[in-house]
Symmetry: none
Subunit: 204 residues, 4 copies
DNA sequence: GATGAATGAGGTTTCATTCAT
DNA sequence: GATGAATGAAACCTCATTCAT
């Protein structure tokens, strides 16, 4: 008996081409930077005609957003899996930090896509999901009693700030190339949030 | 007796014009964003002719870099003053963090100018100076014995990461608008760096 | 006994599809204007594939011409029926003017399709038929003796000019929306052609 | 003594270039039609760079509108002069009709620019001025008592319809090439408006 | 006959930079 | 030094048409 195809071939081809374009676009963005990210370059890299790019993405803006969405997907999937796992909180934390740093290191463009003022409304839900991934882990930490309750948003921002900060500054020259930032980030943050609420503050 | 001018009038005028252009350029960048940052807009805002802009800045790139340098100048001056002052370390720290956040909040474009991979070689010394400003303060902290010695670069990066992270994420929606980030940053970092080196770590 | 079909089913289907496309094309042209008149829009409106449009019409040009022909068809049919009828001339005239105005009002695009210099050679016979429809009526008027003989072409042009002029200018703001132009057109034209040949002209 | 220039040379040159572009644009529009009216063609015809066209006209749309405005200018000037002159009404009328026909014959594009649904808001005042030019003459005719009072808007539309109709249909094949339409238009209109209000109408 | 993804020439527009005055 | 019109490469995007399935 002949197998019933799940999706018709046309549709499958279409999706495959979309993926090829997305991958080519990512390569262009990674290799040549935002300035050189032109539809023509993407078309050449993907070996499609210019017009064909526009059949899949309504505008250059949308294409960039889709790259960001595409790049973050695995990270978010892992983050959600981690948050839902029954690993102890600290392992969740460490793995999430490591995964995030790895993603950011591999795909510098992502940082930029998330960069302040990218302004695209399309990315808002993506950013939200990113935030929530961290938030879920932190919540677990509070549930385990490892870190104090309260002010979770600030805690999450502090954590993401540390991660993003290390990711960004590593691209410059401040740190040794092979420096493993994860222990520092985790250590600073855990130490910090544990004591932050108790420390009496002096001065202005 | 007629005073001997330190700098001849010609030179003074030239500097004044340069400053006017720089200020106009900053206004344009702040008010209308990078996309609308064109030499023509700058010229109109500065009330100079297009060609005159090029008398003072060799290219648009250079102009942008000079804005970044210009914007950071007061912050760096204050940072160096703070580092050289005889204020207790924690006050130095808190004031520097506050000043940095204020600068970043006022001039979002600066963040972008510093944005990862802006690629301009011209900004490298500026970035270095920024780093050193933080470094000097941290060194004071170590000298006072408030924070442990060693791994100063990592400490500085952690601090700058926290600051930059809060600045960036505040532009999104994660935190309440009037949230004062300074105590959190200082608290997390101080708590973190104090314990980071001692904490035994578990898991992978 | 099974009826012998006049036209085989294939052919009937084909004609039905052609009509559906034509109607969809007219709707697109009417609703969204020439600028938005693209084959893709027509295909979507007709619920056919792009390629299918080309099965029925060799090019976009031809499709537009066919719309014009199609739109004028009922008007021409009525005009020829009127001319062949035994209604008194003035009723023929009035009804033709009214029908023409109604067609032009309903289908503004027609005006444009007929617009000076649309250039399509294919429309020449349509234009001719349009002219002849008016001509036949005018000839009846001459036969009845209501309007003087001679210079029939000029008379027809004058009449069509009046009709077209009112149709066009009504789309602007010169006349009240609900103004019934028919009496004015008929009156002016009848009065005019009746006296035109007799009036002594002064001045240059 | 050296003469004081009315306008500085820069300004004069600028205006001259604007005029050259406008003239070139008119030639392109006249010779090759709307379809081929591209900025590139205009630039080539005017012997300017593409970008230079945009220094003078913000968009292709604006350029087209300016052609229309430019083309109508002399006609309107003459119309207003005629209306203000103390020529007898019928001479005003005949001359205006003749001038209008001449303009429309010379510059077919004008017809199109005025064509129904050109839609450009920029042209609204131009159209209004066109209408008012006719209106002023008709008003004079009423003042002289040559044509009856009342319904002036309809009279003006009738007149403009006749003129436009003859102009348009002459471009087709209905009339002999050298046919002088002016007497017919003036005759039909004068005869028509004189009797239009008095004629009893029959039929529906 | 029907389909619709792919094509790519061609259009509009922007803008950093030059240069004659 | 100041001016600002001119330049034209290069970007984005559209859409009539083709053609393999």
């Amino acid at each position: 008996m002949v197998s019933e195809p799940q999706t018709p071939r046309r549709e499958r081809e279409r999706l495959r081409h979309r993926r090829e374009i997305l991958d080519a676009a990512r390569r262009v963005l990674s290799a040549r930077g935002v300035e050189a990210f032109t539809i023509e370059h993407v078309a050449k890299e993907a070996e499609f005609a210019i017009g064909s790019i526009y059949r899949h993405f309504a505008s250059k803006e949308e294409l960039i957003d889709m790259i960001a969405a595409d790049l973050s997907e695995p990270l978010f999937a892992e983050a959600e899996a981690l948050a839902a796992s029954d690993l102890p909180f600290e392992q969740q934390l460490e793995r999430l930090v490591r995964a995030t740093l790895a993603t950011l290191a591999d795909d510098l463009p992502l940082i930029r896509a998330f960069g302040a003022g990218s302004g695209s409304e399309r990315l808002a839900p993506i950013r939200a999901r990113y935030f929530e991934a961290f938030d879920a882990i932190v919540k677990n930490g509070q549930r385990e009693g490892v870190i104090p309750k309260g002010a979770r948003a600030a805690k999450v921002v502090a954590l993401m700030g540390l991660v993003a900060g290390f990711a960004k500054w590593r691209t410059f020259d401040a740190l040794p190339k092979r420096f493993d930032a994860v222990p520092t980030i985790v250590g600073v943050w855990l130490g910090g949030v544990a004591t932050a609420t108790k420390r009496p503050r002096k001065g202005r």
